[in-house]
Amino acid sequence: MFSLANPARFMRWSAAVLPYCAFATAVLLAAGTILALFVAPPDYQQGEAVRIMYVHVPAAYMASLVYAVVALGSAVALIWRHPLADIAAQEAAPLGAGFTLICLVSGSLWGEPMWGTWWVWDARLTSVLVLFFLYLGYMALVNAFDDPARGAKAGAILALVGVVNLPIIKFSVDWWNTLHQPASIFRLGGPTIAAAMLWPLFIMALGFTLFFVTLLLVRMRGRLLAARIRALRLAA
């Protein structure tokens, strides 16, 4: 696996898979949106407002997943000092922050009509807001040093400390009283939501995941190009 992470090899295989990833992303996001807006049924309690779920839930899932990628990249970078791991973590972070922002805003837009409030300081909402600030803090810290290696190391340590927030987000709806509903998809005993809603949700979530993978590869390639540009400038 590490041989795939050799920068020259990475440039080769990522160039080969990128067109397929981009194509699959476009197809899945288009299909997911059509299913979410036209095919999925309105909820018997929430009516058409339930369609916010197809944006909110995939964004929420990506918010945590991308943080796990940032933390994993940080761990690999700290332990094995692999240069691509730092780059992966750093290029994933803004994408994770974007997903978290979508999650927060769409959740707020869902909360107002269903709960009667845009925001409550309960465990789930607050822990996701903390996640958003962890992303911003990580990005700020990485860029706060004159020496990029020190910035990367400081950021990696922050990213690893912040991992404690992930189980807090996941289990917040079980551990504390909250307006937010408990898990209805990834739970023991299987999902509790109807198949007609689960399928569009699944396709949308897959689309969000591939969107992330595609853009992460593009951004990592960009970083490696920037490194070559710097090296050529120094040599000149």
Binding site: G47, I52, R219, I229, A236
Partner: protein, 55 residues
């Protein structure tokens, strides 16, 4: 109400549903455009430097 109006009204939840999709579109399109633009800019820059190198 026509079919399109009915669809756009989202059962009275239009002001919540459309901004939710809107923010996802704006954020994700923004990230995608920014990422691809930065990549292309660097590729052009690198090509220019490599041309100068060989001269």
């Amino acid at each position: 109400m026509s079919g399109v109006d009915h669809f756009l009204a989202m059962g009275g939840y239009a002001v919540f549903v459309w901004p939710a999709y809107g923010v996802a579109l704006v954020v994700m399109a923004g990230l995608a455009i920014h990422g691809v633009a930065a990549y292309r800019r660097r590729r052009r820059e690198l090509a220019r430097l490599e041309r100068e190198e060989t001269r």
